[in-house]
């Protein structure tokens, strides 16, 4: 019983990091209709910047702040300098449908190579802001650590602030409106292009946090965030790619499920587990758990 509870809590902490990544993907998908595979690269570059700050100043939270800022700038930059140009050029022909996806892929490769050229391929680690030794209850030490708790709390705070932005501010309203019906939003006086760039910036910042949090209990390399991208994507698919709430729920389910596989079956099956979840969701409920009757395959 105790082991089940511990696994559940650790899964919650893992899943909450996936939630950030999947929110970043969903945000961009809703506004631009592209699954932004470069998100892993953007998050990685932001994390490297956060890593530099955190190691030099020895303050994790300052690093996190810089990672958020870097991620936001990078996200806005990618949309402004890259996606806009792309949508202007690639409009017709056999490749028009696939061009944006391929472009984000190229961007992921570009960022990865640049990071590799600057920092090299060796593993870096960021000093965790809290102890990674488990809590001690009475005599026993459980695997759930203060760091796990801190991750859950941090993600929770970020999710709450996102919810406030989206539900209670004008910016949030225009973000939702231009994702839902860009033309009508534009007619209503919303600068949809600018709003989209802001959406990319928010996604980038959230991705930066995800990168920093993953790295605080793991190592950082030019490839270390690929798995986070994949799990973030699976979580977003569970949620239906459209719904932010759905993607958070999907991420928590996925995180908990994978941690149970890790603790009860073995390391070798974690990835296969994630992949099976993806295939099953695609076969059984391709519109995600949040779909309300209407098919929303784009």
């Amino acid at each position: 019983m105790q082991k089940i509870l511990e696994t559940f809590l650790i899964g919650l902490s893992t899943g909450s990091i996936y939630a950030l990544m999947s929110i970043a993907l969903v945000l961009v998908w809703r506004s631009t209709r592209v699954v932004n595979f470069a998100q892993a690269g953007q998050a990685m570059l932001s994390t490297y910047i956060g890593f530099e700050i955190a190691t030099r100043t020895e303050i994790f939270w300052l690093g996190l702040l810089f990672a958020i800022a870097a991620g936001a700038l990078l996200g806005a930059g990618v949309d402004y300098f890259f996606m806009r140009v792309l949508f202007k050029h690639a409009v017709s022909g056999p490749a028009a449908v696939v061009a944006p996806v391929i472009a984000t892929l190229g961007l992921l490769g570009l960022i990865r190579s640049i990071v590799g050229l600057i920092w090299g391929g060796e593993f870096k680690s960021i000093k965790a802001p809290a102890s990674t030794d488990g809590f001690t209850i009475g005599e026993k030490t459980i695997p759930f650590s203060p760091l796990n708790l801190l991750i859950i709390v941090t993600v929770f705070v970020i999710l709450i602030s996102l919810a406030i932005i989206f539900q209670r501010t004008n910016l949030g309203l225009s973000l939702r409106a231009s994702a839902y019906a860009p033309e009508i939003a534009q007619l209503a006086g919303i600068k949809t292009a600018r709003t989209r760039t802001i959406g990319w910036a928010i996604a980038g910042g959230v991705g930066g946090v995800a990168g920093m949090l993953v790295t605080s209990s793991n190592f950082l390399s030019p490839y270390s965030l690929d798995l986070l991208l994949v799990f973030g994507f699976i979580a977003a698919v569970i949620g239906g790619l459209e719904s932010m709430v759905g993607s958070v729920v999907g991420a928590l389910i996925l995180g908990i499920a994978l941690t149970f596989i890790l603790n009860y079956v073995g390391t070798s099956l974690v990835f296969i587990g994630g992949f099976v979840v993806l295939i099953v969701v695609l076969l059984v409920k391709p519109d995600g758990i949040m779909a309300k009757g209407r098919a929303r395959r784009a």
Binding site: S113, I279, P286
Partner: protein, 321 residues
């Protein structure tokens, strides 16, 4: 059809003559070009014709490579049978995956195949019968003795790879010009209109995915032959990226373009090597310059000539006329 067959046989004959006159390294690179040409044709079929994006063709190559090696090592079968098994197993794998993902559009397929490309090497690391990190040997053996002493191993690879490439390109080109090719293009340009004309678009997409996987698996087996080994490290995400880049450079819907794309993919590491040495030969430069070149090429070509360099030329030609 008969004319095309004659053309392919003529091409093969020319390649044989060329293979005799160039040095060992070029012969080896010739085999690599043939391998990439097969792999790129799998993307042309899938992306250029049926309009789906797969980021996991590198993983499909791994499936083909492992099935070929396992067949050869465990069954003691002739070499040609190992290649056939590579095609069959990866086609089955593709059909299964296609059934799950291909009836869904764009982002789902792209994401699922990306997940596969990221995860498959890790999965291969975990299972003993797949040889773990060092991988398993795939040895097609020495060239037959009747070719004489002069006939080198690399030339043997070149012969096999070129033969397989010509054969599969011939078959692929015929499929693309058949009813299937036309149907795929119809689905790609307007799937609703295609369905109204009686096309079962889901089934056709799965078929495209299956054939594409089969081609990728074949390429994977050829690649395993050229490095005599199947290991997770050979089929990385970077390989999948490189394939997409090669296909976009080739012009995603041009089958003859794959030779051009393959040539560039083989040339990039060489160019990067020369540049890295000239700029100081730093370790990071050596490791990441090829990736940088690939990504910059991919980004530039997808922005400026998303339908391949051939399209611009054609359009210019039209304007003049």
């Amino acid at each position: 059809m008969r004319k095309k067959l004659a053309l392919f046989i003529f091409l093969g004959w020319i390649l044989l003559l060329v293979g005799d006159r160039i040095d060992e390294l070029r012969v080896y690179q010739g085999a690599q070009i043939a391998m990439y040409a097969i792999a790129l044709s799998s993307i042309v079929l899938l992306t250029g014709y049926s309009g789906q994006v797969s980021l996991g063709n590198g993983a499909m190559m791994a499936v083909g490579g492992y099935s070929a090696a396992l067949t050869l090592n465990n069954l003691g079968s002739p070499v040609w049978f190992a290649f056939v098994m590579a095609v069959v197993v990866s086609a089955l794998f593709g059909a299964f995956l296609g059934a799950a993902a291909a009836r869904l559009s764009g982002p789902y397929l792209a994401g699922t195949t990306l997940a596969l490309a990221v995860g498959l090497p890790e999965i291969a690391n975990q299972f003993d019968f797949l040889g773990g990190v060092p991988g398993i040997l795939f040895d097609v053996g020495f060239p037959p003795a009747r070719f004489g002493e002069e006939f080198t191993q690399y030339k043997w690879f070149f012969w096999i790879a070129t033969f397989i490439a010509l054969l599969s390109l011939f078959i692929t080109s015929n499929i693309l010009q058949s009813r299937y090719g036309r149907t795929w293009r119809a689905i790609r340009s307007n799937s609703l209109a295609a369905e109204l004309s009686g096309v079962h678009s889901g089934r056709m997409k799965i078929l495209a995915f299956t054939l594409s996987s089969a081609l990728a698996g074949l390429a994977g087996a050829v690649m395993a032959m050229t490095i005599s080994l199947v290991a997770p490290g050979a089929y990385t995400l970077a390989l999948s990226f490189a394939l997409v880049t090669g296909a976009v450079l080739a012009g995603v819907s041009s089958l003859p373009g794959v030779v051009f794309g393959a040539l560039i993919l083989v040339a990039i590491p060489e160019v990067a090597d020369v540049l890295a040495t000239r700029w100081g030969g730093d370790e990071n430069l050596n490791n990441y310059l090829p990736g940088l070149i690939v990504s910059v090429l991919l980004i530039l070509s997808v922005i400026f000539t998303p339908n391949g360099p051939g399209e611009k030329l054609k359009r210019r030609h039209h304007k003049k006329a």
